[in-house]
Symmetry: C2
């Protein structure tokens, strides 16, 4: 029996996507060849990557608005570096909401002056700072929309005149936003989009070409725009599975539909967490993430019992990150409501038995 998969990422993907991906590894497109042994320049694969790029823009409502969608190598960690390499002339503004923001800040420091406009490190990143000022002479403002480790999520984004860059690795395609407020969005595939190994970059072309440094080809967004994400051999399988997942999402009803499901799932879990005296949430209530819920037991002596019970209930991936401890339930797009119900059932059973 399939497990209830609360893994923080790589994470659960839709069953029908896994089925199609598995078949394509044997016979893709009825051509009697595997997806992973055909040329990336062949029409069947060019159709895949074009479809994936177009679906990404369509789902975000960013077609015909000056944006390009790219599928690049290197994970979001490479984007920490590439954003600065391509866009940081003198000074950039960063909001520090956790481990990933901090890593982005570290890499960008090699390329210019960094203004950390606010940080929630004082409370181990359990909230999202508000009311900070973004200097108007910054080359850009960078933020992380959702913080998997701490279970926090930005519910609104600042008004600013400088270009806004957002690392949406862990909540892209999960909720509706005015995505046109961002000038560059990046996201590692391995949460709501696909398997590890490819990274989606959505970039507004008019912010590029403004730094003087020479940028190596593989790190230059313009290289990849000119070559339609095919400057070098792309990560064929991860991109194909991402395309399947984006198709699945579009067929379901797009971001509006999945957002309503995601809100039901997170409400179910947060309500139980607040009601059940054996549990307490770790993130500040206003900033709680709909993707990753962090919580802990109020009585540590129950740990062994609870751990045994959820594993018996066929639940996977509930341990919290080492820098926070406790538990983390990641409820990405493909996680069914009944999986969250299974977890809530265990929490209630613990209450009855404790």
């Amino acid at each position: 029996m399939k497990k209830h998969n609360f893994s923080a990422g790589p994470c659960i993907l839709p069953e029908e996507v896994l089925q199609k991906a598995s078949e394509a590894v044997i016979n893709f497109n009825n051509d009697n060849l595997s997806l992973i042994e055909i040329s990336h320049r062949s029409k069947p694969f060019v159709d895949v990557i074009e479809n994936a790029r177009s679906l990404a823009l369509e789902l975000l409502g960013l077609q015909n608005k000056g944006y390009k969608a790219l599928f690049l190598h290197g994970g979001a960690s490479s984007q920490f570096l590439m954003t600065a390499y391509n866009l940081l002339n003198k000074k950039a503004a960063y909001l520090n909401t956790g481990t990933w923001s901090s890593k982005a800040i570290k890499e960008a420091k090699l390329f210019g002056e960094l203004d950390e406009v606010a940080s929630s490190i004082d409370k181990n990143f359990n909230y999202i700072p508000k009311n900070y000022k973004i200097p108007s002479d910054a080359d850009y403002f960078h933020c992380t929309s959702n913080n998997t480790i701490y279970g926090t999520q930005m519910k609104s984004f600042p008004e600013t005149t400088v270009p806004m860059i957002c690392d949406m690795s862990s909540d892209i395609f999960s909720r509706q936003l005015d995505f046109s407020q961002f000038d560059l969005i990046y996201a590692g595939a391995q949460k709501n989009m696909g398997p590890a190994g490819t990274t989606l970059v959505i970039v507004k072309e008019d912010i590029l070409g403004k730094v003087e440094r020479v940028i190596p080809s593989m790190l230059n967004y313009q290289t990849h725009i000119e070559k339609d994400s095919m400057f070098n051999t792309p990560a064929v399988f991860p991109i194909y599975v991402s395309m399947l997942t984006l198709e699945w999402l579009k067929d379901l009803g797009g971001i509006d539909f999945i957002e309503s499901v995601n809100k039901q799932k997170s409400a179910l879990l947060y309500n139980e967490m607040d009601r059940n005296p054996l549990f307490k949430g770790l993130a500040e209530e206003d900033d709680r993430s709909h993707m990753n819920a962090t919580f802990t037991l109020t009585n540590k002596d129950l740990k062994e019992k609870f751990d045994f019970m959820w594993q018996e209930a066929n639940i996977n991936g509930l341990h919290g990150h080492r820098s926070v401890g406790g538990y983390r339930a990641s409820m990405y797009n493909a996680l069914p409501l009944y999986s969250v119900q299974a977890l809530v059932d265990v929490m209630q059973e613990l209450e009855r038995k404790a």
Copy 2:
């Protein structure tokens, strides 16, 4: 019926590897979870990447000799840049044997002085230059062991006192060499190792840490060595399939065994090419690649007929690269001898019918 797949890359992989990979996308390790939806920090996947790294060193005979094996993002194209970023202080020596060497040279020029010790561009790269001098004050010497586009392959490597770096993307694991003569070897997975999306880097640790520039984390070999190739989420599926392919190769008898098969395959094709008056080889005889054979028709009027015949014979991927024209038969490790025989049969049939 499965096609005879002569694709230049991504290319044919062993049938049993494709079967296992397809199964793992549904249920990996009998855990009732897909390989692509589990944590990369979970024991089952850590075992995969450790096994892949260890098999790579074992097959090349490089265990316990000061080398580390890494599976990195970004393709060989990122290595053009990373080798120079990590190793080029003042001056580096490059041998130019084709498109990929030229690209490596272009990226390295951003980091120091480049000494192009020899080039075969005068004859559209249809041979490997010999008798060139490598300056003893170079930080390293860089070469490309096999040139897929032109069908040439280095049969020997120069004696030099400077560290030797080799791009072996298209012939690693296909022939026996004294691999300890190299200080850094890199190879995109998508020829003899696995699907596109991961790159093997074998690096001798003692050549690192000698440049003064600050290297961004993702571009720094030492970052990846310290984190055992897990600095960021690795390309899970491509690495798993690479591990399966390396296991397949080890079980067959390793590089010695596959080299004898590869020699049989290339001898079969080159003998026909030399015997059959309708065909001629494009690379100089001494430098012919055992992986990629480039050839053309002696009478261009037969093109339509030949193209029809090989496609009828269930052969895939025989068109030459646009910069060379004609035909290219790529005979990577997983291509069976009977596929080469199928091609030779078509060549002989053309002779009978022409």
